[in-house]
Subunit: 161 residues, 2 copies
């Protein structure tokens, strides 16, 4: 039998790490495509979603809650502000800070992105049954929280000044 996955020339194709990174790559492509179709990218969604959950916040707070690096917040907010989805106003009570807030148009955009995203999940999991999807999600969740805790990753809620 010809079994390409265990081909002598490509033994790595059976490794969990390979399966994981390759599948994630497909996932990433699907998500990016979906976002691209409305001139958005992953950071836009994450920032808008965080903003909806928190209400108006400083960039540092948004960075912590969204997991987007502070250095990348600047450009992300610039892009969203250009499109009128967020507003950046100086914080009068602490003049180091900007207060970022979600505009009505930004909220609509966010919901658009959420719909895209949920469609993408279906495309991604297309070949799996409902039970298998649950199983996969469960296993990945366990792996992720394990490695997050091992590497000292936040992954959770914590109060912010």
């Amino acid at each position: 039998m010809k079994n390409p996955s265990e081909d002598t020339a490509a033994p790595w194709k059976a490794l969990p790490s390979w399966l994981l990174t390759q599948t994630a790559d497909h996932a990433h492509h699907l998500v990016s495509e979906g976002f691209n179709a409305v001139e958005a990218r992953g950071y836009h969604y994450r920032l808008l979603a965080t903003l909806e959950g928190l209400g108006p916040s400083s960039q540092a707070t948004l960075s912590r809650q969204s997991g987007i690096h502070v250095s990348d917040m600047v450009a992300t907010i610039n892009e969203l502000a250009e499109r009128g989805y967020v507003e950046r106003t100086p914080d009068m009570t602490d003049r180091r800070r900007n207060v970022i807030s979600l505009t009505p148009s930004g909220k609509r955009h966010l919901h658009r992105l959420e719909k895209r995203l949920s469609k993408t999940q279906d495309e991604l999991l297309a070949p799996l049954t409902v039970d298998e999807r649950k199983e996969l999600t469960e296993l990945l969740s366990r792996l992720l929280s394990y490695h997050n805790s091992v590497t000292g990753n936040p992954e959770n809620d914590w109060q912010d000044p």
Copy 2:
């Protein structure tokens, strides 16, 4: 109950695409660390493994079989040749080609990398039982080959001139 994963400020953390890309990120880090410890990187392993499976081959053939882009073959082979792991000699029968071959030292290096890699798989799957590892591998394999075929990805063996 405080359930951070369904936090209103980070709804995406429950999405399969997120779990997948994040877990893959951890996997990627673990693999890279392992390779870094012996001054190697992913491309080195893939090229050496392909070379062991095929025997001496042209760069174009290696590119197709390893999935490493032709443009990146040059630098990869340079790096491996500097370290004495492969040799690049002109092909007398087709003067466009170079013949790349594995040195004994390169073979030893490859086996070193393979050992690292197999340790890494264990680290990666640490929190899962044997059955769960099989289940995960199976689900990911199905996802991967589905998406590979959908996007018209090779993933298999085919003859080479």
